[in-house]
């Protein structure tokens, strides 16, 4: 199943199951979505439930919040996470806070879908990852779907949660063919152990999952048996799964596409040292994007983010430097 098909299936089934589910965003209707995620939904559910909006991100989220207060379950699509900066006030100051401001009387069952990440030569203004920003906001739930299975079950959960969810996707994943697993007990807040191993825990999420899997093949050749954890949920963070893995492997590497300083990895490291400092046999290694706006030039673009090659190199270097 294609990643985008899994998202489409989740929205389609949710809309069929519950009339209060609506979607709105730029080109979600007649055009079928910028990444074909909402393909076929306009003709199936009509313009009242599949709403094409003007290019005005603040109003998309603002309208969606209004709908949510009035009893609907809106799914707002922001074309890319880069444009969500325009909707920040609505997301942070309104969506995230209404439950608290109203003393729990009002909930905002809103899902804001947005793709992000470094795609191919979209340059600095269209290549950002803002998961760190959203993950630092109390009142928001932040989910990051790296695969078709989580895209389907995670998005369905997000739609039917009564709190606002920022649902992060990655632009390079949409056309990828992926294995789809039927799940019976699904917990959107649980991290996935992608591969079990005993020597080293690698924590990652979104598209970096695939770079880590590539790197793993080489690390295996070098005799390193890695355990790979895909976070799935960035807020709340499944620190239990992480801590249990580190208790076993004693070593941890975080691989993230986003910039290093103040990134997701920094928060994870902080929580690891709070939770399992005495299990660590080496400093935690962060492999992250460089602290620069993403360059347009393809070679520089690849230099600015982790690649399988770089992941392998950095891990081997870190092991050598630490004598582990």
């Amino acid at each position: 199943m294609l990643y985008r098909e899994a998202l489409n299936k989740a929205i389609d089934e949710s809309m069929a199951a519950d009339e209060s589910v609506v979607i709105l965003g730029e080109d979600v209707g007649r055009y079928g979505g910028s990444y074909r995620v909402s393909e076929g939904l306009f003709s199936k559910y009509g313009e009242k439930r599949v709403i094409d909006t003007p290019i005005a991100e603040l109003s998309i989220v603002g309208n969606a919040i209004g709908m949510a207060i009035a009893g609907l379950r809106p799914i707002a699509e922001i074309m890319t996470v880069n444009f969500s900066l325009l909707a920040m006030d609505q997301i942070i100051n309104h969506a995230a806070k209404f439950r608290y401001m109203s003393g729990g009387k009002m909930t905002i069952p809103l899902t804001i879908r947005m793709p992000g990440g470094v795609s191919r030569q979209l340059a600095a203004q269209h290549s950002e990852n803002y998961e760190t920003l959203y993950s630092s906001i109390p009142g928001l739930i932040v989910l990051a779907a790296s695969n078709a299975t989580y895209a389907y079950y995670g998005l369905k959960s997000a739609i039917f949660l009564n709190d606002p969810v920022v649902f992060l996707e990655h632009e390079l994943l949409y056309p990828m063919e992926m294995e789809f697993k039927e799940l019976k007990n699904f917990d959107p807040f649980k991290a996935e152990i992608v591969k079990e191993g005993k020597d080293l825990t690698i924590i990652t999420y979104l598209k970096m999952r695939y770079d880590v899997l590539e790197a793993e093949k080489e690390l295996r050749k070098a005799g390193i048996d890695v355990e790979i954890i895909d976070l799935n949920s960035l807020r709340p963070l499944d620190i239990e799964t992480i801590a249990n893995s580190i208790k076993k492997t004693k070593k941890c590497v975080i691989v993230e596409e986003d910039h290093k300083t103040g990134g997701m990895g920094a928060e994870i490291v902080a929580q690891i040292q709070e939770k399992c400092f005495y299990d660590l046999d080496a400093p935690v290694l962060r492999i992250a994007g460089e602290d620069v706006p993403i360059p347009y030039n393809r070679k520089l673009e690849l230099l600015s983010i982790p690649t399988p090659d770089k992941i392998v190199k950095k891990i081997l270097k870190w092991k050598a430097e630490n004598g582990i």
């Binding site: 949409y174 004693k250 050598a320 004598g323």
Partner: protein
């Protein structure tokens, strides 16, 4: 000149594109900006322009087919255009630069790193300190004595624990069997007997890595079992010669019989039968470093003494590829181990193999395994009879 129209990259995320509709057919004249095809990407359907002026020579991808980006989808002959409009120059093939796939070269990385010194300081990792405290190990003292590296890690503490609680012999077993020391009660010096007892009680395997030769043998026998074979059971009469190994006599007789039966000097290769003039025989040789199918070349021309010498040399000589290839028939002899009769698996591409048992009053039981693709029953019977005649005279 031929210009290849490629599947364009229509969006930043497009890996593959599907041909929705061809707007031109073979033989059509197109201008640079003529739309020639409709392509569906992950985002949308778009028309693709020819890119050059010319005549459509070939359409490579049919409607409905999906191909990766940059795959040629059509060929335009730009020469034909030149005849019509001479002033315009042919368009250079401006394809977007191929993105070099990032490949990982472990050796290169390791070489780069191997010389880099330990960059960290401090006495021990948190995990190492925790474990050291548990086992009452004084990290500082051991580091002052130079018995622990600085900083110390878990593996270093584990070694200290092993040294402290296990005799050297027992420690060796711990490594050989990859045992977890936590399975032992660490309150006394543990001797090898205790470790062996634990290994026996829990039926723990000793781990030995296969050698490249063993892996090659496994591959060879697995291939062999796939061959359509049949068996011929026979007895041969042989007079043992003083100072000559029986195997040498068998090789000589087999080499002569092979000269009379070209199919036994043949191998199959891609629907062709390659028949060689020489009797090159693969011989199962048990060496200190394993079992090898060593090949004796032109055995038909060699004297018994020469073959006998070869059999002695091959036991210890350093083997090359030459020593292990080029055979068309094989033998295996287990007679010296007292085996009555057995069957053997055909080596590599050989036409067959003879398995020889022990000598009993001048008689040896032999089983030939024959590749039926090369020799049929009649041909094999004739060969075996020729061999029986030859063995009487060597």
């Amino acid at each position: 000149m031929e210009y290849k129209v490629i599947m364009p990259i229509l969006s930043d995320t497009m890996d593959k594109g599907k041909i929705v509709k061809w707007l031109v057919k073979v033989g059509d004249y197109v201008k640079k900006e003529t739309p020639i095809v409709e392509v569906e990407s992950d985002k949308a359907t778009m028309q693709v322009e020819a890119g050059v002026e010319g005549v459509v020579k070939e359409i490579l991808v049919n409607v409905g087919e999906e191909v990766p980006v940059k795959t040629p989808i059509a060929i335009i002959d730009t020469e034909q255009k030149a005849a019509k409009t001479e002033e315009s120059k042919p368009q250079p093939q401006t394809q977007s630069k191929e993105e070099t796939k990032t490949t990982v070269d472990i050796d290169e990385i390791l070489n780069e790193i191997i010389s880099s010194p330990k960059a960290v300081s401090g006495s021990a990792s948190p995990a190492a300190k925790k474990k050291a405290a548990e086992y009452e190990i004084d990290i500082e003292e051991l580091q002052n004595k130079g018995e622990l590296p600085k900083p110390a890690h878990l593996k270093d503490i584990d070694e200290v624990i092993i040294k402290k609680y296990f005799t050297p012999k027992a420690a060796k077993l711990i490594k050989e069997y990859n045992l977890d020391i936590n399975n032992f009660k660490l309150d006394h010096k543990i001797r090898s007997e205790e470790v062996l007892n634990y290994i026996k009680q829990n039926n723990i395997p000793k781990i030995t890595k296969l050698t490249p030769n063993q892996i090659a043998v496994i591959k060879n026998v697995q291939n062999s079992i796939k061959k359509p074979t049949f068996l011929i059971f026979e007895k041969i009469n042989i007079t043992k010669k003083e100072g000559i190994k029986l195997t040498a006599q068998i090789i000589k007789a087999l080499a002569l019989a092979m000269q009379k039966n070209p199919l036994t000097r043949s191998v199959l290769k891609e629907n062709k039968l390659l028949t060689y003039p020489a009797s090159n025989i693969s011989v199962a040789v048990s060496r200190d470093d394993g079992l090898y199918m060593c090949v004796i070349k032109n055995a038909e021309e060699k004297s018994l003494n020469e073959i006998n010498e070869w059999l002695k040399e091959i036991k210890t000589k350093r083997l090359t590829i030459e020593d292990l290839s080029g055979s068309t028939f094989g033998i295996s002899n287990l007679g010296m181990f007292g085996i009555e009769r057995f069957t053997a698996l055909i080596n590599d591409k050989d036409a067959g193999i003879g398995a020889f048992g022990k000598m009993n009053e001048g008689e040896i039981k032999v089983t030939f395994t024959i590749d039926h693709r090369i020799l049929n029953g009649v041909e094999a019977a004739k060969f075996v009879n020729d061999f029986k005649e030859e063995i009487k005279n060597v």
